[in-house]
Symmetry: C2
Subunit: 119 residues, 2 copies
């Protein structure tokens, strides 16, 4: 990738986001980042959408995670997180338009113990 | 794309960013978004990296543009911008680590008339 951010910088390229593995506290991969949701006006990431490839059998493929819970590790070429599979399974349920529903967002960020992105 | 943001929402998926065309005020494509640079700590987009495929002969392939200058148009399935080719050619020159250089960033955001992303 020519002339763009290095991984030891304060910034990261979205090329190192989509498809990147996410590793849990026990060291194994707990999924990958499929894509990001971005607030159009502010250019802020509202959620990283984690994918599990369906092997967990939860009946859906993507789970929105606060960006603040992901920590890029250049050595792993992936993200570390302290989020667990149990936490993801216990996250607030989504309805149509959840990404525009501030009540759902508050509950979800509180569930993950992440600071609100909108403040 | 299952259960993620719709284009009429306040949020947009990064799937609709990488590779997406950028159209100028005269209507034609002036390039595409190759990838985004993201501040790791805040989850804020610092730059959209525009690519030109080299046909402009400027000797480099990517140009960092403030996210605030891009306006997604679902009808076009692309971005509109009032940035011109001349403006891009006249942007402050980059050196190694430009994305961590606040002085360069101030000059660049001022050049494009965009509000600083770090305030």
């Amino acid at each position: 990738m020519p002339d763009t951010a290095q991984t030891n910088s304060a910034v990261i390229s979205s090329d190192r986001v989509n498809g990147t593995e996410v590793y849990g506290v026990e060291g194994g991969s707990i999924g990958h980042i499929d894509h990001l949701l971005i607030d159009k006006k502010t250019g802020r990431i509202t959620y990283a959408m984690m994918g599990f490839g369906g092997f967990m059998g939860l009946g859906e493929d993507y789970y929105p995670i606060p960006w603040a819970k992901l920590d890029y590790d250049p050595g792993l070429a992936g993200y570390r997180t302290d989020i667990t599979r149990e936490q993801i399974e216990g996250a607030p349920e989504r309805r149509d338009g959840w990404y525009d529903d501030r009540k759902w967002e508050e509950a979800t960020y509180a569930h993950y113990g992440a600071p609100y992105y909108w403040i």
